[in-house]
Amino acid sequence: MKKAFSLVELLVAVAVFSIAGLPIFSLYFNTGLGQQKLIRDFLAVTTVTEKVINRVNQEIEEQNLPMARFNFDKNISNSITKGQSQDPDLKFLDNSFVDKSGEAAFRYIQHSESRFSTTPFTITKGSVPASHRSNNPELLQEVLTSIEKRSKLLEVTTQWRDTSRILHDFNVILIKAVVPES
């Protein structure tokens, strides 16, 4: 008789197993599903950000984006999700998202903010491999100065919150000559 479990022992064992096991399994499932949602949202954000930076690149190629020559930082969330920024400088982006494609891509993302900025691009002699440096340091400096004067660092950043309110961000950088060669 003493070798068997009593009812109380069995009850305690089941209770302990349940209390210990349920949170662990719950954590596993919730984490797994949370990560899957994160990857889904990440795919949507990366493609939309890629679309924006490619459009920016195209505008500069067509010399349609004179504002790229200056430093600025603009919120482009309305352009992406509504296709209506009310900002004449961002009309080209509105045109790309007026079909509500951005809104559809961000369907499952509750809170997001996208920004488009340009900052000066700096390059030093150390950026040029030693084998490519000429024996004329003045000429090299002149080339580097010319690159710095003509180029900008353009950046598109999207920040979003997942279902657990954790903040994520993704950014794409484009370094581009924005002033035509004289």
Partner: protein, 169 residues
């Protein structure tokens, strides 16, 4: 006689014991169901992710082909939406991306089909919508929209755009 009566009494269950056993069984059953249900959800989620990842790979394949194109034959640069995309690759081969009547999004290299009978490359299953447009003010920029259904029959949208580099004029 007394021993017999006692043995008989011990062989059954009291109502309290029955209730406790039932409660334990329900608890264990509920736990097992939760385990199975959660596992099924994770498995479905994995399949959904697989579909989305395949779509992203297809998008990268489209972008790679498109960025090297030498001529966009269709759609015209008028800012309107069209359901097909036709272009010439850097090798001068005709490639068409289209949605068929089985909701499959395909990429067909017409020259490879003629030469090697190679079937179209399947870009995505269960495609609800696919359209392409070229803005009037950026002719060498092609943007596209793909809406698919995932494993849970929920719509997922991929919206991308690409600058075409090798246009010959």
């Amino acid at each position: 006689m007394n021993r017999q009566i006692m043995n008989h009494k011990n062989s059954g269950m009291t109502m309290l014991e029955l209730i406790i056993y039932a409660a334990i069984s329900i608890l264990i059953g509920g736990f097992m169901l939760n385990l199975l249900w959660g596992g099924k959800n994770v498995e479905t989620g994995r399949k959904r992710l697989g579909i989305l990842q395949d779509l992203r790979i297809s998008s990268l394949k489209m972008n790679r082909e498109l960025t090297q194109a030498t001529e966009i034959l269709f759609p015209p640069p008028d800012g309107k939406k069209y359901s097909q995309l036709a272009f010439l690759t850097c090798e001068g081969e005709l490639v068409v991306i289209f949605l068929d009547d089985k909701q499959n999004l395909n990429m067909l290299n017409y020259d490879e089909l003629k030469r090697e009978k190679r079937p179209p490359y399947l870009l995505a299953h269960k495609t609800l919508d696919f359209y392409v447009s070229r803005p009037e003010d950026a002719q060498d920029y092609v943007q596209y929209f793909i809406q698919i259904l995932d494993e849970k029959e929920l719509p997922f949208v991929l919206s991308d755009g690409i600058s075409v580099k090798n246009i010959i004029r």
